[in-house]
C-alpha cells in the first residue's frame, strides 16, 4: 500500500504521491531536476551554498511530525512533492458545480484556466528567491540569515509543487510551462517574471520584511483561495504549502516588529521623544519610524495591485467554474454560488470615491482584497503596541487603498494616504513624505552591515523573543563556510 502520509525517499525526489510507481511523471521531474539545481546554484552566492544552515525540512504531512530541523547545505535540501492528505468524499465547495465530487483529473473545459492559475502561482515562487538573492551578504544576524534561507528553500519547494501539478496533469504543455518557470527571471529585460511586484529588487532587509509581511500575504490569500479549488490535487498542494507559508508571514511580522523595537528602545535610551527628530534618531544606528511608515506604504500598495481589477470576469469565471474559491469559503454562510448576491466595490463618480453594489460574482477580487486588508491590519496593530509600550507617540497606519496604485479604479490617480484626491503637483510635492526617497534608501543601505557572530544583532534590529525550534539566543543558526 502506498504510504501517503510520510515522505518516500525511494526516488531522487522525496514525495508522498507515489512517484516511484508513476514512471512517466517521475521521468519528467527527473529531467527537470538538473535545471532546477543549476538555477539554485547560479542564484545564491557560493559561500552560502557551502554553509551549514539550520533548516526545517518537511518530512510528512501528518501535523505531529511534519518537519525536522537539522543542519543542511542548501543545495542538498530535500525539495519534495507533498500534498495534504485527501479528504474523503470531498465536494466542490463553490460555483455552479457546488456539491459535486471534487475532480481528481483536470476537467477539459477548465484546463486552460487551471493551467494559467498554476503557472502564475508557480512563477511567483522562484521570483521571490531571485529578488532576495543577495540579502544573505548583509544579514543582521545568523538568526535572520537562517530565516531568509528557510523562506528561500521553501519558495523553492513551492515551485516544485506547482511543477509537479503541471507535469502530472497537463501533459506536453505542462512540461513546457515547467521549463519556462526556470527561464523567466526576476527583473529580466527579455523574460521577466509575470507579476510586477516580483520584478522589483529587494534591496535591503527592511524591504525583505515588508515584502514577506505584505507581498507574501497576498500569496497566502491566493493559496487560501486555491486550497478551495474543486481540482483536488491543487487544493491538497496548496493546503500543505500554507503550513510552510505561515513561517514566511512570521519572518515579516516579527522582522518589522523587531526593527521598530530597536528604534523605540534606542530613542528612549537617548531620551528622544519626538519620532520626527529624524537625523538624531538615525545617528543612533536605527531606522526612524516615519521612514518605516514610508516603506510600509510602498510595499502595501504594491501588494494591493496584485489582486487585479476590482471587477473582473476572469475571477468570476474561476469562481463559478469551481476552480478558485474565496478566502475561508467554508466559513462563509451563503449559497456558495453567489446567484443573486451583490458586493460593494470602489468606483469613481464625478471625481469622488464611492462604493456601490455590483454582482458579487464579479467582485471576487475585491472581496479577497478586503479580506487581505483586514488580515494585514492585524500586524500593524501589534507593531503599534510595541510603540505604545515604549511610550513613543507615533502610530503606523495602512494608507487608504486608493493611494499609490497602478491597477484598478485608482490606477495612476494622485490620492494621498488618507484617500483625498490631490492635483498631480500637490501629490508630487508631498510624495517624499509618503514614499521612500533615494536618500531614505541610501540611509537604510548604510545600516546593512552583516553581523555573523552567534547571538549578536545589528544595531537597527532587536533580538527575537523566541528562538527557532526553541533554540537558545546564541545558537549558531548558520555555520558559515569560510572560503
Amino acid at each position: 500500500m502506498l504510504d501517503l502520509i510520510n515522505v518516500s525517499y525511494d526516488t531522487q525526489i522525496p514525495n508522498n504521491v507515489g512517484l516511484s510507481e508513476d514512471k512517466k511523471v517521475l521521468k519528467a521531474l527527473e529531467k527537470w531536476h538538473p535545471g532546477y539545481i543549476n538555477w539554485w546554484n547560479d542564484l545564491i552566492p557560493q559561500n552560502f551554498q557551502e554553509s551549514m544552515v539550520y533548516l526545517r525540512t518537511a518530512v510528512s504531512v501528518d501535523p505531529k511530525g511534519w518537519a525536522k530541523f537539522d543542519y543542511v547545505k542548501m543545495p542538498e535540501y530535500r525539495w519534495g512533492v507533498l500534498l495534504a492528505p485527501a479528504v474523503e468524499d470531498r465536494k466542490i465547495p463553490m460555483g455552479e458545480h457546488f456539491g459535486e465530487p471534487a475532480w481528481q483529473e483536470v476537467p477539459g473545459e477548465y484546463r486552460n484556466m487551471l493551467k494559467r492559475l498554476i503557472v502564475i502561482q508557480g512563477d511567483t515562487e522562484p521570483g521571490s528567491v531571485e529578488q532576495q538573492r543577495f540579502l544573505g551578504l548583509t544579514a543582521p544576524s545568523l538568526y535572520d540569515m537562517r530565516n531568509l534561507f528557510q523562506v528561500n528553500v521553501e519558495e523553492g519547494r513551492h515551485l516544485w509543487a506547482m511543477v509537479y501539478l503541471l507535469q502530472k496533469y497537463f501533459g506536453r504543455d505542462g512540461r513546457e510551462e515547467a521549463d519556462d518557470l526556470l527561464i523567466r527571471s526576476s527583473g529580466s529585460e527579455e523574460a521577466p517574471r509575470m507579476l510586477g511586484a516580483f520584478n522589483e529588487e529587494t534591496p535591503d532587509w527592511l524591504s525583505f520584511f515588508m515584502f514577506t509581511y505584505f507581498t507574501d500575504r497576498d500569496g497566502k490569500m491566493q493559496l487560501e483561495s486555491l486550497a478551495q479549488s474543486g481540482f483536488d490535487p491543487l487544493s491538497r498542494t496548496c493546503r500543505f504549502m500554507l503550513t510552510e507559508e505561515a513561517h514566511h508571514m512570521f519572518v515579516g511580522e516579527t522582522g518589522v516588529g523587531r526593527t521598530i523595537q530597536a528604534t523605540v528602545e534606542a530613542m528612549n535610551k537617548a531620551g528622544i521623544t519626538d519620532p520626527y527628530d529624524i537625523d538624531k534618531i538615525r545617528d543612533l544606528g536605527v531606522i526612524d519610524l516615519p521612514t518605516i511608515q514610508k516603506k510600509l506604504n510602498l510595499h502595501y500598495t504594491l501588494s494591493l495591485d496584485l489582486f487585479g481589477q476590482e471587477v473582473s470576469t476572469n475571477a468570476a469565471n474561476a469562481f463559478n467554474s469551481g476552480v478558485k474559491g474565496r478566502y475561508q469559503e467554508h466559513r462563509i454562510d451563503d449559497d456558495h454560488m453567489l446567484k443573486d448576491a451583490t458586493y460593494p466595490v470602489w468606483d469613481m463618480v464625478d471625481g469622488k470615491l464611492v462604493r456601490h453594489e455590483v454582482p458579487a460574482l464579479t467582485a471576487i477580487n475585491m472581496r479577497l482584497r478586503d479580506d487581505y486588508i483586514n488580515d494585514a491590519a492585524g500586524g500593524v496593530k501589534r507593531w503599534n503596541k510595541i510603540i505604545e509600550k515604549a511610550g513613543v507617540e507615533f502610530e503606523m497606519k495602512l494608507p487608504h487603498e486608493s493611494f499609490h496604485r497602478q491597477i484598478g479604479v485608482f490606477a495612476g490617480k494622485p490620492f494621498d494616504p488618507d484617500g483625498n484626491l490631490l492635483s498631480q503637483e500637490e501629490f508630487d510635492a508631498k510624495a517624499p513624505e509618503w514614499l521612500p526617497t533615494k536618500a531614505d534608501g541610501d540611509f537604510i543601505q548604510s545600516l546593512m552591515k552583516p553581523v555573523t557572530e552567534p547571538g549578536k544583532f545589528a544595531s537597527w534590529i532587536a533580538p527575537p523573543k523566541v528562538g527557532i525550534d526553541n533554540k537558545p539566543g546564541d545558537f549558531e543558526y548558520v555555520k558559515l563556510h569560510m572560503a
Binding site: 511530525g65 500554507l242 505561515a246 501589534r382 526553541n470
Partner: protein, 397 residues
Amino acid sequence: MNKPIKQHLIDPEICIRCYTCEMTCPVGAIEHNDDNVVVDPEKCLFCMDCIPVCPTGSIDEWRVVKEPYSLEEQFEWDELPEQEEIETAEGEDDGMEAMDDAMAALLAEAHSGAGGKSKAPATASKPSVNLYNLGKPAEATVQGNYRLTGAESDGDVRHIILDFGSLPFPVLEGQSIGIIPPGEDAEGKPHLPRLYSVSSPRDGERQNYNNVSLTVKREEKGVCSNYVCDLQKGDKVKVTGPFGATFLLPSDPEAHLLMICTGTGSAPFRAFTMRRQREMPTRKGTLTLVFGARTPKDLPYFGPLKKVPEDFMHKIFAFSREDGHPKMYVQDQLRAEGDRVAELLRDPNGHIYICGLKAMEHGVNEALSDIARGAGLDWAAIRDEMRGSGRYHVETY
C-alpha cells in the same frame, strides 16, 4: 473547591494570526477574531496536533487554572497572564509533565526526591508530551531484544528496540514512554501503562531512524517488565507518551553534567551521552558519570561504556559485590571525587541528575551534603537554587 485544570493557551504577543493551528485542529477548538487566536477550553482534547505546525512557538502555552479563561477573556488579551499561584496537594504535580493525570502522578512521585518543584534546564529543547494516550496509543514494532547483563548475573536487564515506522513519535533524551501490557488486572480492568525512560537519543537508536530503545529489568511477578523482557522481534506493542518535561538535557555546550545512577537508572544517561556524542563529539570534559551496580556483570552497557573516551566522559563505577574488593556504593565514589563534585556545585553551568532506585536517594543526598559542607557551602540552599534554575533533577522509582 474545583480541582485545578490545565488549560491550553496561545501567547498573543508572539502569535502572528496565521490560523495554521485553527486549520489543523481536528475538533475545531481553535478560533479567532481580528486580534487574537484562542483555544476553547470546552473543546480542546490535548491531542497536540496544533503544536508542531505553529511557526512561532506561541501555541505551546499552558496554565493551571481553577476556572478556565473564557474565549472572551482570551480575545481581550494583549499578553498572556502569569501562572497564578495555585496550591496542589502534597506530592502532586501540576500535571504539565504529562497532560495525563495518572502519568503525571507517576512522574511527580519519581521526581519527588528533588525536594521541590522540578524545572527543565533553561536551554533544553521543548518536549512534546502525551501525543499518544490510553484511548489512542501508538503501535510500535519490536526490532530487537538483547540481554545486557552477563550470563552469570542473576539479574536480567534487557535492551529493547521499538520501531515506530511511519508514525511520528518525537521523544527527547530523559523523557519516558508508557507501555501498555496486554490483558487485564485482577479486577478485570485493562492494565494501565507502565513508564520507562528511553535510553536512545532524539534522532533514533540508530541515527535518523524512527526507533527508540528502552532499558528494562525483569522484576519477579512484574506484569509489564516480564511482558517487555519476553518481547520477540516483530511483536507489536501499544505505546503512550512521550511524558516528562523537566528531566531533560540542556542544549548548552557549556553545561557540565554530573550523572548519578544505579542499574536501569542508566537509561536516560545513555541517551544523554549518545546525544552529546552525536551533536558535540569534540566537546571534552563536561560529562561525569557515577554508576553503581553489584558487579561489572550486572552493569548494563558496561562494554560500550568502557569504549567512551575518558576525556569525553569521566566514568566512575561503584561495585557493591565485586569479589576481592570492598563494598563500594555511588555515594562512596562521590565522596572520593569530592573536589570534582564541589567544583561542579559552584559552577553556574553545573547540572546534577540522579536516576535509579528510590533507595539511592538518601545516600546520595548525604554525600552531596557532606561534600558541600567540606567546601564551606550550604547544600540545602545550593540544591534549591539548582532545582529552581533547572539544574538539579531526580527521577527515582
